[in-house]
């Protein structure tokens, strides 16, 4: 037992954090999802078993919301990871001075508070003569209403891309210089170097960024809330997390249904776990964390 004392001690802080901020909230969410807790029954919630779950599924528009979620996550993810990768490749191929400037600029949306960032978007996308996009394109419309999905993906993607950019650039830097020399000696073009040398070496960071971003996109809704509030019109851009938030926490008449919202959140936990497992499978996680076959120093 004593030989495990030190490792256990070192694991303790992380374990406590995970228990406190992951396991306990999941347990509470599950518990709430089995009650009818709402504005009316806040003081005396009743245990209703799994009743909230069929109620959710019987909503004729839940499919639309699910599809919106898939659309939002996949489109934004594609933009995020693709743009992050492109930026990393670009900034790694120019001089360090310039590279840092480019990266700094791309970090701006991330360090801006979301409300301020979205205010800028609101300003850009208004009708002429107020909005820049309308002025430039000559088409006067409210672009958030006119093209809500494009705006959502762009607004989210521009924030998200910097994450991939940072991870990928540092990963590219850590690729042994010898490999590039070897590729050059073999007469590889830039594209071939990227495809045959850089990308294979980036497999692990790409897995990490993709998995991480998928999970955070699944649960994030703040930019949608601020940009379109799930509209315009009927659930046009309402995703699962936003719908859960509205059910559980935000209603014009204060009629909030924590129980139902918790059931939606519980669904999201399940979806998140399934998606993570799929990723681990696709990217062959075991092999990625296996002992290296050749020790390179």
């Amino acid at each position: 037992m004593r030989r495990y004392a030190a490792p256990l001690l070192f694991l303790l802080p992380a374990t406590i954090l995970i228990l406190l901020f992951f396991v306990v909230p999941v347990g509470m969410t599950l518990y709430l999802s089995f009650t009818d807790i709402s504005t009316l029954t806040f003081r005396n919630p009743k245990w209703v078993g799994i009743a909230n779950y069929p109620t959710l599924l019987r909503d004729p528009f839940i499919g639309k919301i699910l599809l919106n979620t898939v659309r939002y996550v996949s489109l934004t993810l594609l933009f995020n990871v693709g743009m992050g990768l492109a930026l990393a490749l670009f900034s790694s191929s120019v001089r360090e001075r310039w590279a840092n400037q480019v990266r700094a600029v791309w970090l701006l949306p991330r360090i801006l508070p979301p409300v301020v960032y979205v205010l800028i978007w609101h300003g850009l996308t208004r009708e002429a003569p107020f909005g820049l996009v309308s002025d430039i394109t000559g088409i006067s419309q409210n672009w958030i209403s006119g093209r809500p999905w494009t705006v959502l993906v762009l607004a989210n993607g521009l924030v998200g891309a910097s994450f991939g950019m940072l991870i990928f650039s540092s990963a590219i830097k850590s690729i042994s210089q010898d490999l590039f020399y070897a590729a050059a000696v073999d007469g590889a073009t830039t594209m071939q170097t990227v495809r045959r040398v850089v990308l294979p070496m980036l497999r692990w960071p790409i897995l990490f960024v993709t998995a991480y971003q998928t999970l955070s996109l699944l649960t994030s809704f703040e930019y949608i809330l601020l940009l379109t509030d799930g509209g315009p019109g009927f659930y046009t851009t309402t995703v699962w997390a936003l719908h859960a938030y509205k059910l559980a926490l935000s209603n014009y008449f204060g009629n909030v249904q924590f129980g139902l919202g918790a059931a939606m959140a519980a669904f999201l936990v399940v979806i998140g776990v399934i998606v993570s497992l799929i990723y681990l499978r696709i990217f062959n996680f075991r092999e990625l964390v296996a002992e290296p076959k050749v020790e390179v120093n």
Binding site: T39, D59, N142, G233, Y235, F253
Partner: protein, 468 residues
């Protein structure tokens, strides 16, 4: 040594003298200062009354400021009465939105942080009383003569399950506005335009006329697409009023149950759909953005729109100042009750009176009610009514107020209806609104939407609703 002793002694003497002098000064100063502070003050307690209020429209800030003024007056009286306490109002006026305000309130009610006084729509009283958040006020109301002058109909809106749950704060009407300048470009004379309210009252001018005129204006390119008729861009109490104007009933007084009339809802949904299809109503009218309502309306680009009397103050103070303020509004905007859907039908408006309620957890209910009595006085009532274009709650205030707009819209109260008193009303409203959103955006046909809404109401409200 001796010398030094001498010097020391001398210095010591001066020290003593200056000490005495300082002491004398201090005593003198204290003697002067003391009479200004009554001896009782030392033992006086300060009782904090927490007051939460909301507009969310800016001009309604007197919902909070009036309570603060009332507290000052009450403190004056408390001093005169020799009470051993003073009160302090601690609270805020919220200008964000109902959803976050109500969420904050809900958590406060449930936690230990509930405000003593909370202002909200009286229609929330059934839900909150059923949940046990607010206290019945029947025993307190007769103790304060200020309340006896409140418009009797408003007390009815404060009652649920045989008890009074709020003190009326203000009320309003929700008129149908129309743009006179655009109607003139359609070829209407001043006399014809000024006749609209009368024709609506007599049942001669209906929702179909709103639609026909809007289409005509669109065809003649007098308005842009979608700007024939504007309704609010968000959820709100008004939807019940429009459903009623299409012949719907939402409450069965005999059984105390909510009612959903599918035929009336279908008429309304079809009317909206036809509006979208013919370019009279915007497909994304429910865009959640009030600025996108106010801007075109005050730019004079919308022909008909449904609003509230309080918006008059918002337009005047925040939107048309540069164009001439209220004068511009009078020249360009007309107002009437909402029409019926059939010739000869009755006009309608909705009042959603605001109320000050006292939380069940308050330890100072007596004092809170006394403070509300001091708030419910003609001068403060008038100040709020004029400043925010709401209608006053006291009968004497109406005589006091010389305000053209308020005088001209006060007749609308004759056609006013209230929201039905039912704890499950929000669920009804949420379902009905979902139907509208689905119909306008084209996600469902009016027929489908009515079925979905009926099924959802049945599911969420159960045996407390009659679907007919």
């Amino acid at each position: 040594m001796a010398k030094s002793f001498h010097v020391g002694q001398n210095q010591g003497g001066e020290d003593m003298r200056s000490k005495w002098l300082i002491a004398a000064w201090v005593i003198g100063a204290l003697a002067l200062a003391l009479p200004a502070v009554p001896p009782a003050h030392a033992q006086q307690r300060t009782i904090v009354i927490k007051v939460w209020t909301i507009g969310p429209d800016n001009p309604s800030k007197t919902r909070f400021e009036n309570v603060v003024t009332a507290a000052e007056r009450l403190n004056g009286d408390l001093r005169r009465e020799g009470a051993d306490y003073q009160i302090k109002v601690d609270g805020f006026f919220d200008t964000t939105d109902w959803a976050p305000y109500l969420r904050r309130l809900l958590l406060a009610f449930q936690g230990s942080d509930a405000p003593d006084i909370v202002q909200a729509s009286a229609a929330l009283a059934p839900t909150w009383s059923a949940a046990g958040f607010i206290a019945p006020l029947d025993t307190y109301v007769p103790k304060h003569q200020q309340f006896s002058d409140v418009v009797p109909a408003l007390w009815a809106a404060m009652r649920y399950a045989g008890k009074t749950w709020g003190i009326p704060q203000d009320t309003e009407a929700r008129p149908l506005y129309y743009n006179k300048a655009l109607l003139k470009r359609l070829g209407w004379t001043d006399a014809q335009i000024n006749d609209i309210p009368k024709r609506i009252v007599s049942g001669d001018f209906t929702w179909d006329d709103v639609m026909t005129l809007s289409r005509e204006a669109r065809q003649k390119n007098i308005i842009e697409a979608g700007k024939g008729y504007y309704h609010r861009p968000t959820q709100g109490p008004d939807w019940v009023q429009w459903y009623r104007s299409f012949g719907g009933r939402d409450f069965d007084t005999a059984t105390g149950k909510l009612v959903f009339n599918k035929a009336a809802a279908l008429r309304y949904y079809r009317w909206l759909r036809a509006g979208v299809d013919t370019g009279v109503i915007e497909r994304d009218r429910l865009n959640g953005d009030w600025n996108r309502f106010m801007q075109p309306v005050t730019d004079g680009r919308v022909l008909f729109w449904s609003g509230g009397t309080w918006q008059w103050a918002e337009w005047e103070q925040q939107w048309v100042g540069a164009k001439g303020g209220e004068q511009w509004l009078f020249e360009n905007f007309g107002y009437a009750p909402h029409p019926s859907h059939v010739k000869g039908g009755k006009p309608i408006t909705l009042s959603n009176p605001q109320a000050y309620m006292v939380s069940a957890a308050s330890k100072n209910k007596d004092l809170a009610m006394r403070l509300l009595a001091y708030t419910t006085v003609p001068d403060l009532d008038a100040k709020h009514a004029i400043g925010s274009a709401h209608l006053p709650v006291l009968q004497r205030t109406s005589q006091l107020v010389k305000n053209r707009f308020l005088n001209e819209v006060s007749y609308l109260l004759a056609y006013s209806t209230y929201l039905p008193p039912h704890p499950d009303l929000p669920k009804w409203q949420d379902s009905f609104y979902r139907g509208i959103s689905a119909v306008e955006s084209g996600s469902a046909t009016p027929e489908q939407a009515v079925d979905v809404v009926a099924a959802e109401m049945q599911r969420t409200i159960g045996d407390k609703i009659i679907i007919e």
